[in-house]
Amino acid sequence: MYEFDYQKAASLDDAAKFLAAHDDAKLVAGGMTLIPTLKQRLAKPSDLVDLASIGSLKGIAEEAGGVTIGAMTRHVEVQRSDIVRRVIPALAALAGMIGDPAVRNRGTIGGSIANNDPAADYPAAVVGLGATVVTTKREISGDSFFTGMFETALGQDEIVTTVKFPKPQAAAYQKFKNPASRYAIVGVFVARTGQGVRVAVTGAGPCVFRVPEMEAALARSFSADAIKDIAIPDDGLNSDIHASAEYRAHLVGVMARRAVAACA
């Protein structure tokens, strides 16, 4: 690692002000992606601003029939939360599939979505459930929060504070893991909601995306059979030593059908 100044932010305001004033400062939430990157010297932030002491960023609450999760809430807390397990069990299950237990004991939902790794799990839930990301400045719909590979709608001094997940009628997440990293080669989150069906895919492309053809077909008939003939084009999908774009495209179909079946 390169040397940096470690700052413990006392409040969100402090953190935002610090970020606004320091171009090369980075927020650290759980640090599960950032710290390994720094260890490889692949980034040289001037300061690390730790959000860990800001109590208002933590916690899980049942609100407006859905679940609101503070940005600094760790994966393990979402995985084990009675509220999440009761209201959106698929979300608790997804949290339990991230990384490994020691990583889930540190990694946070806010850190994960702000990082927007193309193979991360949470973006699939945020988009799949039609969640709203609340920041220090505004509310951003899940659909417009993730803008590209590792890119989000967040501004330089804008910090995620909570994520509001509406309760779906039914939802499920199916993940096909990379055998080495255990990130998603393909993860598909399917949710049936009052406003229709949402199908969100992570791992397959540079950024989480929805599959409108599947959503439309499932809105007509919510069954795995309804989407069995929908082929996902592999154009633009990720291709690496672990899986070709063609295989990923195929897996999107399989994982989507399994997620639909798991919703039943």
Partner: protein, 167 residues
């Protein structure tokens, strides 16, 4: 920039001057001489460095020392009760769940974290829980047996005959 970090390590208050970039594992190994916690990779996957922070398993290679300010850290050196091995350590020994011993401290710290949350884990649950702990020697077969036996001993259940010796 050097800063002072104060925390509790194995029940004792500790203060040290560290850089921002100093990792918890460096503080433990290099400053405090607690070399039972090992470093086996750079990417937060192998689990040789797992310790408990405030009672939870974390990878000490992916935590800054300064992030542990005010917290309570427990390492493998504080698991046994004096010369008496903890039941989980005893189970590892009795089931031959270690060979070279390098992954063992992290493995035991993870096993204790698992059993705290799931006192009677199934084989499958144990295997899934070890996703973040690599062992290159044992093929995990005996580690699974050991964690089952250790969990049973910890909850006071009768100790089942150990598979390693039976073979």
């Amino acid at each position: 920039m050097q800063k002072t970090v104060s925390l509790t390590v194995n029940g004792k208050p500790v203060s040290a001057t560290v850089e921002g970039r100093t990792l918890l594992v460096q503080l433990l190994r290099e400053t405090l001489g607690l070399t039972g916690t090992h470093v086996g990779c750079d990417t937060s996957q192998c689990g040789a460095c797992v310790v408990h922070v405030d009672g939870e398993a974390v990878k000490s290679c992916t935590l800054l020392a300064l992030q542990a300010e005010g917290r309570s850290v427990k390492t493998i050196e504080d698991v046994a009760d004096g010369d008496t091995l903890h039941p989980m350590q005893e189970a590892f020994r009795d089931n031959h769940a270690l060979q070279c011993g390098f992954c063992t401290p992290g493995m035991i710290m993870s096993a204790l974290d698992l059993v705290k949350n799931n006192p009677d884990p199934t084989d499958r649950e144990i295997r899934e829980y070890l996703e973040g702990n690599f062992c290159r020697c044992t093929g995990y077969h005996n580690i699974v047996l050991a964690i089952k036996a250790g969990a049973a001993a910890m909850r006071g259940a009768p100790v089942e005959p150990h598979g390693a010796a039976a073979e």
